[in-house]
């Protein structure tokens, strides 16, 4: 099998790209895509650790199933908020959504 370090490095790179996307992007939907990348990197990490370090190799898959469930709920809710924001402010840029800013 491919060494475990390769999977960990790959998921670390995906996670860092997601962090950059979340921090740098202005569009709320693109910020959400960065979050999806980060969640995917985390699932890949869980499954890698389970596949290489867990004797029955199942636990990581179960964690990843929960991560995918929560990600689905999160993306549905977040997109509803984006659509609502667009209706109220005619923009989907996070730096123009300053209604709650003091």
């Amino acid at each position: 099998m491919v060494p475990m370090e390769n999977y960990l490095a790959l998921s670390g790179i995906i996670f860092s790209l997601g962090v950059y996307g979340v921090l740098a992007r202005r569009n709320a939907v693109l910020v959400l895509m960065g979050i999806e990348l980060m969640l995917n990197a985390v699932s890949l990490n869980f499954v890698t650790f389970a596949a290489y370090l867990d004797p029955d190799r199942v636990l990581g898959a179960i964690f990843a199933v929960f991560v995918i469930t929560v990600a689905a709920a999160e993306v549905g809710l977040a997109l509803a908020i984006v659509i609502r924001l667009y209706r109220v402010r005619q923009t989907a840029n996070v730096d123009e959504a300053n209604i709650l800013k003091w």
């Binding site: 099998m1 491919v2 475990m4 370090e5 390769n6 999977y7 960990l8 490095a9 790959l10 670390g12 995906i14 860092s16 790209l17 997601g18 962090v19 950059y20 996307g21 921090l23 740098a24 992007r25 202005r26 569009n27 939907v29 693109l30 895509m33 999806e36 990348l37 995917n40 699932s43 890949l44 499954v47 596949a51 290489y52 370090l53 190799r57 199942v58 990581g60 898959a61 179960i62 990843a64 199933v65 929960f66 995918i68 469930t69 929560v70 990600a71 689905a72 709920a73 999160e74 993306v75 549905g76 809710l77 997109l79 509803a80 984006v82 659509i83 609502r84 209706r87 840029n93 730096d95």
Partner: protein, 167 residues
Amino acid sequence: MATEVLWWIFAVAIVGTSAGVVFSGSVIHAAIFLILSLAGVGTMYVFLTVEFLALVQFLIYGGAVTVLILLALMLTRMGVSGRPERATGGQAPFAAVVGLGLAAVLVGVAFVTDWRESVPDNPINVPIQLISERLFNDFGAPFLLAAALLLVAMVGAIILARQEEGE
């Protein structure tokens, strides 16, 4: 040997498409890159011998989540308003520093740490039966909680996105 070559091809493809998601100027291109990147992570699950998760990844991420994102992009009409949108804000250089630093730390730790791998030489695939037994016996309560969470999130999304009277 062939597995290693295939793995490296897919790994480079995943990193490339993920970079496309965060660096692409067009939101539609970013969404297409996201589909490819998520599908690539699904192939990684095949390499890790967890086919069930690969299937779930293709169905839910490659299908449902990306369709939701494309739908939201269409409803908010990005980039057709006439004025060209700047894709990144003024904080982008700092975000690049954070991202590069995090990548250096994560990759460095992955290679420096002594992991004591206990993987068998010819690992068998993780059977779906075993996953379901553990999921429904040991993780029954979290499973029900996740179901309730999904239901609440969907109802909340409908209420949030609904057109209200007099708006």
